[in-house]
């Protein structure tokens, strides 16, 4: 084990020396990164510009416009009580709500949940990983607890936590992030243990640099690339798990327009109106695919060896 660690650090070091100036250029040239980030950019624009994309308030409904097929014409009642003409691009649901508007607004929820989940998991994972990697006495107990968390299937932790806390945006984000924390902690810990042996860290120690400064100034910056990659994958799984929770009826409250909620409402009428599930489903799949492609591309271009480590 000691040998392979040594070998890893040697080869990483030599790779970094060659690759440093061109790392960003390689990321930019990567096809997966290009496709993934373009699609994501488009989705971010959709989320930001939602009110101007021919949508209506996603909570509006009109009993007269129930169960319209995609492209159907109908009316919708505004909050002021006026009836306005509206084209239901993706049809309407059993309450007469516009699926298109709900899907477009759902982009906001999914992107926010994905990014927040990744940030929360990374923040806790980095803090715990740095502790485990630097404070030897904490290492054993902390990592055993992490092993325990990892032994519980992630989705069950999320479901149970949301059941206890009841669904809201912060609770759903934290519930999805918690099962991801051990993986980040392990990654950061292993990176810290490798980087600690580097000559520049030894030099810093021998110069009497305080431990916290070594952690923040010398060790943390070198963990950025693998963490960005890991964060991308957490974002993808966060978006998926949120949709699953909402779909099962244990996620965000049904009045919030999320892809999972739209699909959950479409379940009862799936035989006649499969598009109620397929439109949000396609958005969801494309989003997760784009994030995964971005992650794959970043991994391949930033550090080819990481494919094996993660």
């Amino acid at each position: 084990m000691a040998n392979s660690t040594e070998f890893d650090s040697l080869s990483t070091e030599s790779a970094t020396v060659v690759a440093q100036p061109s790392a960003l250029a390689r990321v930019r040239a990567n096809v997966s990164v290009r496709i993934g980030s373009s699609v994501l950019l488009a989705l971010v624009l959709v989320a930001l510009l939602a009110p101007w994309l021919g949508t209506v308030d996603p909570t509006l409904f009109d009993p007269a416009s129930r169960d319209l097929l995609p492209g159907g014409q109908g009316e919708i009642t505004t909050l002021e009580g006026d009836s306005i003409k509206h084209t239901f691009l993706m049809g309407s649901d059993g309450y007469g709500r516009d699926i298109y508007s709900r899907v477009v607004y759902g982009t906001r929820v999914s992107l926010i949940v994905g990014v927040c989940t990744a940030l929360v998991a990374l923040a806790f994972g980095i803090a715990l990983g740095l502790c485990a990697g630097t404070l030897r006495r904490l290492d054993g107990p902390l990592m055993r607890v992490m092993d325990g968390v990892m032994a519980i299937p992630a989705i069950l932790i999320a479901i149970a936590l949301v059941a206890i806390w009841r669904g809201s945006l912060p609770t759903v984000v934290i519930a999805i992030a918690i099962p991801e924390i051990p993986r980040v902690t392990r990654l950061v810990r292993s990176l810290v243990l490798t980087i600690r042996e580097e000559p520049y860290v030894e030099a810093a120690i021998s110069l009497g640099t305080p431990t916290w400064k070594i952690m923040l100034r010398h060790i943390l910056p070198n963990t950025v690339a693998p963490l960005v990659v890991q964060g991308t994958f957490i974002c993808a799984s966060g978006i998926l798990v949120e949709a699953i929770l909402s779909f099962l009826g244990v996620g965000l409250p049904p009045d919030i327009a999320t892809w999972g909620n739209v699909m959950a409402e479409g379940r009862a009428q799936f035989n006649e109106f499969p598009h109620n599930i397929f439109f949000p489903g396609i958005f969801l799949a494309v989003t997760v695919l784009a994030v995964n492609m971005l992650g794959d591309g970043l991994r391949d271009s930033l550090d080819p060896k990481m494919a094996k480590r993660v």
Binding site: A160, L248, G249, F270, A285
Partner: protein, 313 residues
Amino acid sequence: MFSFLARRLLSTLPVLLIVSVLVFLLLRLTPGDPAAVLAGDTASTDQIAQIRTHLGLDRSIPAQFAIWFGHLLGGDLGESFYYKAKVTTLIAQRLEPTLSLALITITIAVLVAVPLGVLAAWRFGGWLDRCLMGFSVLGFSVPIFVLAYLMIWLVSIKLGWLPVQGYRRLADGLVPYLSHLVLPALTLSVVYIALIARVTRASVLETLGEDYIRTARAKGLPERTVLLRHALANAAVPIATVIGIGIALLIGGVVVTESVFAIPGLGRLTVDAVLARDFPTIQGVILLFSFIYVAVNLLVDLSYVFFDPRIRY
């Protein structure tokens, strides 16, 4: 070997203990009266008082854990106040559908993924390889319930080949049993296939670069023997590992699949228990699934000896 077995078995005990502590704390550290939380929204005052005495909730947290853990060791997972039955009984009733679904899924996944992975590695960079890599990214990204509905729509509604939903017990006959399980198992196996095929491809690719492969080819062995006896056999350990790790993915998938296909298994029980806030049942199911996950990975560890005779414990 026996000392290894003993050590490996002992090493899972701390993990199981920590899992138990976590599942215990999950409910005790929530605000409010744990007895009321445990009993769920449908419980009466009598039931809440009964739980309080049964679990010793007036004592300290460690003492409460000791009582709860004692019950657990005695095979008592508590009582569901929603179903008015013992959690162990509920789980036993729901075991058959879930086990059937999981076993059929694993069988399909291994039978499809391993040959695909080997072929992709064999013709590295070819069309099959590129298709497989594309498929695996797609397999990780398409949500399982979207895929499930796509399958139902295509196979059951449009083509009318298989029943839409539901479950028949094995005792009702093999054909209805299988016809109700094929579609959910196929749906569930997609992610698993993506995962196993990817790892198979990577590890076979690595062994194909070894000297003994060149030797085997040089002495004129048929390509089939080279691939199966030399490349795949030496790549078996990472494949077995990923099958074990993938069980976590499978358990998550079971929860969703059973819900979509209306299969009365443990996954469905989990969702129903969460919707009813039936905490003893939630605790029981989480513990069971986690223990299964740990046990499967223990078996995988032990299987290394079988796959790689060089590993001797």
